[in-house]
Amino acid sequence: MNGAATSALRVRGLCKNFGALAVAQSIDLDLAPGARMGLIGPNGAGKTTLINLLTGMLRPDAGSIELNGEAIGRMKPEDRVKRGLARTHQINTLLNETNVRDNVAIAIAEREKIAWRTLRFRPQWRDCLDEADERLREIGIAEVADRRVSELPYGRQRLLEIAIALALKPRVLLLDEPAAGVPSAESHIIHDVLERLPADIAILIIEHDMDVVFRFAREITVLVQGSILTQGEPAKIAADPEVRAVYLGRSVV
């Protein structure tokens, strides 16, 4: 099928209920390779739930998810990751007792499928460490490679979340509020990194900071009470009276 082959991520009719509460109501989503899509919506709209459905942390009640044309809707989370779907977490989910370099190297070992090795592993592990250093340089935190994660300022930990996701060489990357909790004085560091993300990765970003979303995204999906209100270019969304109404008259741009 031609249409499916051109989509990096293709979602059709995704539904999920928590009891009587519909947290996802027949959601359709298309991410072309290299897409930059922003997902916005008021608190409780189901943004993080949608990410959890895509990554397989939650099981959908109905609907299909395709990654590069392959149905992944019934796969375990780890199998989706192996096929090129990576995410960052809204709240840092890192190995706090481990140093920064090893946090990335462990992900690389997993990607290179050497994480089962217990014998003759030293050269491969060395390669993982070297590549980890490179990833940290790219994202600008090479100088803290030897530090424990727990000793790192929060902003650096946010960057590490992104570095780990990138180390998996994903084709689709889901960013769950990458700047959440970062003091606004430092948030420009996160923005700079977002701007420099590899162009060929399709990215879906959830963000409360409208400045960030409207600068970063080339298309925006508005989610309200588990269903898609509207989709379109940032300018169109910003001008949409319905979207403004959802945000209770708050100025969107």
Partner: protein, 329 residues
């Protein structure tokens, strides 16, 4: 950039010469403590059990009070194999180890999707069920009476003698082999992923780690090691009793591990040695109150030494190095 990045492992920052110390001590004990070799063998068996627990509990974070099940399973497997099939110890040890690995893998597959207290209770339950089965299955296990076994010579060459010379060296060799395996495992990418799972299963799932399979694998390996310890105990004492399956064994192993220090491998050596020696010495002084000494030691360790008694060695080593550095002009 430094060419040699600092490692997460304390051991990697230490001269490799230190590795010879415990093993030289183990060999020296053989020549110097002739009357105490059965005590020494007992220590070696407990070191192996504690080492196995370190892999599961220390490194992978599998909360368990069920290692007695594997210890006892290995002991009965070795005993029954020697009685009914073939009395050569090494063969029996390999068979008992393999069987325990399968048993640990199957029980692990049943329970390792759970965590925390649920997991703890399930490990306990399996161990109690097995102990009760062994108690009832008198025709197989001898029930309360246990099994008296006679062993052939090790590899057809070395008889188990009255003074425990062969038993000690045999146990030391087995411990050394398992130590090499454990060392390799915890330093490998596989070991690193276990360390990650202990810290954050969610993080590991997000990078594509099959968490459940990894846990099942290390549980099976750890169970196999505990099974070897049980088999060694059966072979060197020529007796298997219900006490090998008792929950107390699991508890003792946890105490030894915490006492010596988790996630250090050598912590098992110190913890088990101190426990058995203190028990021996204190019980001679007062047979009723030796548990007080162990309890006191444990409390002091947990309160003041986060890394167990291994931390005392770390501190000593640092002081030693400072002195050495000052002595140099």
């Amino acid at each position: 950039m430094s060419a040699q990045p600092a490692s997460t492992f304390v051991e990697d920052r230490v001269s490799p010469l230190w590795h010879t110390v415990p093993w030289l001590l183990g060999i020296a004990f053989y020549f110097m403590a002739a009357g105490y070799l059965s005590l020494g063998t007992n220590i070696l068996v407990y070191i192996l059990l504690t080492l196995s627990l370190d892999l599961a509990l220390g490194y992978a974070g599998i909360i368990t009070l069920g290692h007695a099940a594997f210890f006892g399973f290995g002991a009965y497997a070795a005993g029954l194999f020697a009685l009914h099939v073939y009395p050569e110890p090494v063969t029996g040890l390999v068979v008992a180890t393999a069987l325990t690995a399968v048993f640990a893998m199957l029980t692990g597959m049943l329970i390792l999707h759970t965590q925390g207290v649920t997991l703890l209770m399930l490990t306990l339950a399996i161990s109690i069920l097995l102990a009760e089965w062994a108690n009832r299955a008198h025709s197989v296990t001898g029930g309360d009476d246990g099994l008296q076994i006679s062993m052939g010579p090790v590899l057809g060459q070395f008889r188990f003698d009255l003074w425990g010379n062969t038993a000690y060296l045999y146990s030391l060799a087995v411990l050394f082999i398992w130590f090499l395996v454990a060392w390799s495992v915890v330093h490998s990418p596989f070991g690193r992923s276990l360390d990650g799972i202990r810290q954050s299963p969610g993080r590991m799932r997000a990078i594509g780690t099959p968490v459940w399979w990894r846990l099942v694998a290390i549980y099976a390996l750890s169970g196999a090691m505990a099974g070897t310890a049980g088999a060694l105990s059966a072979q060197t004492t020529r007796f298997v009793g219900l006490n090998t399956l008792h929950v107390l064994i699991s508890g003792i192993a946890v105490v030894m591990l915490v006492l010596g220090g988790t996630k250090r491998l050598y912590g098992a050596f110190i913890g088990a040695a101190i426990y058995v020696v203190v028990q021996d010495v204190a019980a001679k002084i007062n047979p009723f109150y030796w548990m007080f000494v162990i309890g006191g030691l444990l409390m002091a360790t947990v309160m003041f030494l986060e890394g167990g008694l291994m931390e005392v060695l770390d501190i000593a080593r640092r002081r030693f190095r400072q002195l050495f550095a000052r002595a140099k002009p």
